[in-house]
């Protein structure tokens, strides 16, 4: 079972649910890869799937795309059970598998046409759809090239183009920027952002900045369970046991002096001088939960004649949240095993 309840699902006027996984488990032999995960995908959102390698991200995505059925639980696409009418419902989902190599010996347009054909398009409709998706994914100029001869970045676009064929409501992208160089990653992200404007997306990644840059909502999976979900902000506020303050002081502040000064202030837990350059000193201090020392500190600096240039609360990055959650989870698990 998920260990923390999803945030922000209480109010009634949310976008309609397009897909829902209900207590989904997957076993391969005696190995339990997914342990009863549940989540829903709402129209128009970008949901990020975050988790260390082997957490069950790909398995969850494969179940959502109808690759294989879950061992237990159900998958709803709209109001219908995906595995009752797979042929019909799979049309509503476009999928880019992780590290798919595609048919190297086929030409770009041939492959995209094939995708259109098996998705049930024919004649003029097929041609128009293929043209539109090739253009949209920036493949028009290479449409007669062999897929095997194109760069990984192009191949990933072809993967996205085939997923887009037939305009599925839901787009599932498994590690879309895996194995790309920085420039290609930028391009793919741009494309994804563009696509997200009129579509619902679910994308998995182990690259955290990517998820925080692209996604409205994040689902953190570890060892086959959802351990947290919500927006990046929600996750952060739920986790913040300790406030952090970032303070910048101007000259004549010096590192040692500031440190001595702050040492004597009660309620500060951790003081670290991050940078000291061009006469500026930046300090990060941890503050006990439920305590506000900002007024006290600003007065202190004034009495010491130190110009206070900046004071803001520090935020946990998604990376820190992720590491924290996963580490805590793993510690808990090992404690349970010990006991």
């Amino acid at each position: 079972m998920p260990e923390s309840a999803p945030h922000g699902s209480a109010d009634g006027d949310l976008a309609p649910v397009l897909a829902r996984l209900e207590d989904v488990s997957k076993n391969f032999g005696s190995r339990r890869v997914l342990k009863g995960i549940s989540f829903e995908l709402r129209k128009g959102e970008i949901l990020g799937f975050l988790g260390p390698n082997g957490a069950g991200k790909t398995t969850a995505m494969r179940i959502l795309t109808g690759y294989f059925p879950p061992s237990q639980g159900r998958v709803w696409i709209g109001e219908q059970d995906l595995f009752r009418e797979p042929q019909k419902l799979k049309r509503r989902i476009g999928y880019l598998p992780e590290s798919v190599t595609l048919y190297g010996e086929m030409r770009v347009c041939e492959f995209v046409e094939f995708a259109a054909q098996v998705k049930g398009l024919a004649g003029i409709k097929k041609r128009r759809e293929v043209e539109e998706k090739l253009t949209r994914c920036g493949l028009w100029d290479v449409k007669h090239r062999l897929i095997g001869r194109l760069s990984k970045g192009f191949r990933q676009r072809i993967g996205i183009a085939q997923a887009l064929i037939g305009d599925p409501e839901i787009l599932v992208l498994d590690e879309p920027s895996n194995g790309l160089d920085p420039k290609q990653i930028m391009e793919i992200r741009g494309l994804i952002r563009e696509l997200a404007q009129d579509r619902t997306l679910i994308l998995s990644s182990h690259i955290l900045p990517e998820v925080s840059a692209l996604c409205d909502r994040v689902l953190i999976i570890n060892k086959g369970s959802v351990i947290a979900s919500g927006t990046a902000d929600e996750l952060e506020s739920g986790l913040r046991e300790r406030h952090e303050l970032v303070i910048t002081l101007g000259p004549p502040a010096d590192k040692a002096g500031v440190f001595r000064l702050l040492e004597n202030v009660p309620g500060l837990e951790r003081i670290s001088i991050e940078t000291a350059r061009e006469g500026l000193v930046t300090v990060v201090v941890g503050i006990e939960k439920g305590r506000d020392v900002r007024a006290e500190l600003s007065r202190l600096f004034v009495t010491q004649n130190l110009p206070l240039l900046e004071m803001r609360s520090g935020r946990l990055s998604l990376e820190e949240i992720f590491m924290k959650l996963v580490l805590e989870e793993n510690e808990d698990a090992s404690q349970r095993e010990d006991a």
């Binding site: 076993n27 391969f28 032999g29 190995r31 890869v33 494969r62 795309t65 109808g66 690759y67 294989f68 059925p69 797979p86 042929q87 019909k88 799979k90 049309r91 989902i93 999928y95 598998p97 992780e98 590290s99 798919v100 190599t101 595609l102 048919y103 190297g104 010996e105 086929m106 041939e110 094939f114 995708a115 054909q117 098996v118 998705k119 049930g120 024919a122 085939q162």
Partner: protein
């Protein structure tokens, strides 16, 4: 059905784009050409001799029987080598490239995928052997007279034999992601099937009949001789069903095997 055709057409296209496709066609026509020329030449020599000896016609020395029965029997043996090359990519390569994952998530049923692949292979096979009808045309234009019945049954038998081999190869291709393994195992199994007739001869007794009944070549031979026996046709239909069914089950193992 349109989905099945789309898969079949893609299968055929991929085959011709691959180097193996070109090799299969080349090898088949070299072999077919050699067998055809040799049997035509020896037919010509024999009939010249029999004319010299003063016989009008020799029993059993009909053009159809002598040239085409022999040719099709030999082509059956050539298929032992070619069928594994034709099927080795089919599912194995798709699994390796992970394009199978795409196929499984397209609005296709497992049947569409398996039968579509099989159909594509059969189309390739038909393209491969139908041009051999050119041999008939060559002999016909040289004044040859045929008995059309045995020729038609030989083609039917060859078509069934080829389909049977391809269904077996497709199944084996579904078990691995390595093309070479797929080809080698398919070839080994076909070779064993080929040897069943000898084995049955060696074993003798009541088991011999049973072993013989399993051999595709024993069933194929009558077709090349112009004998249309329903039990032979039934054997090949069952062979197809059996291996296509196994392929379906094999494709389904993704549900519980990671």
């Amino acid at each position: 059905m349109r989905n099945t055709f789309a898969v079949a057409a893609k299968e055929m296209r991929s085959f011709f784009y691959s180097g193996a496709g070109v090799l299969v066609f080349f090898f088949f026509y070299v072999m077919a050409g050699i067998f055809f020329s040799l049997s035509v030449l020896s037919y010509a020599r024999l009939s010249m001799e029999s004319l010299k000896e003063g016989y009008q016609a020799v029993e059993g020395l009909g053009l159809t029987r002598f040239v085409f029965s022999g040719l099709f029997l030999n082509l059956g043996a050539v298929l032992l080598f070619l069928a594994p090359v034709m099927t080795m990519r089919s599912l194995a390569e798709e699994r390796k490239l992970q394009t199978l994952e795409l196929l499984y998530t397209y609005p296709l049923s497992d049947f569409d995928i398996v039968f579509g692949k099989f159909l594509g292979l059969v189309w390739i096979f038909e393209l491969l052997f139908l041009p051999t009808a050119g041999y008939l045309w060559i002999l016909h234009s040289l004044g040859g007279v045929f008995d059309w019945g045995p020729i038609l049954t030989a083609y039917l038998g060859f078509w069934l034999l080829g389909g049977a081999f391809l269904s077996l190869g497709l199944f084996i291709s579904s078990l691995t992601e390595n093309q070479v393994v797929s080809a080698v195992v398919t070839f080994a199994v076909l070779l064993i099937l080929w040897m069943l007739e000898w084995i049955s001869d060696a074993v003798g007794g009541s088991a011999a009949g049973f072993i013989r009944a399993l051999s595709p070549f024993a069933h194929y031979r009558d077709f090349t001789l112009g004998i249309l026996d329903l039990s032979h046709a039934a054997y090949f239909v069952l062979f197809h069903f059996f291996f296509l069914f196994l392929t379906m089950r094999s494709v389904e193992t993704r549900h519980w095997k990671s």
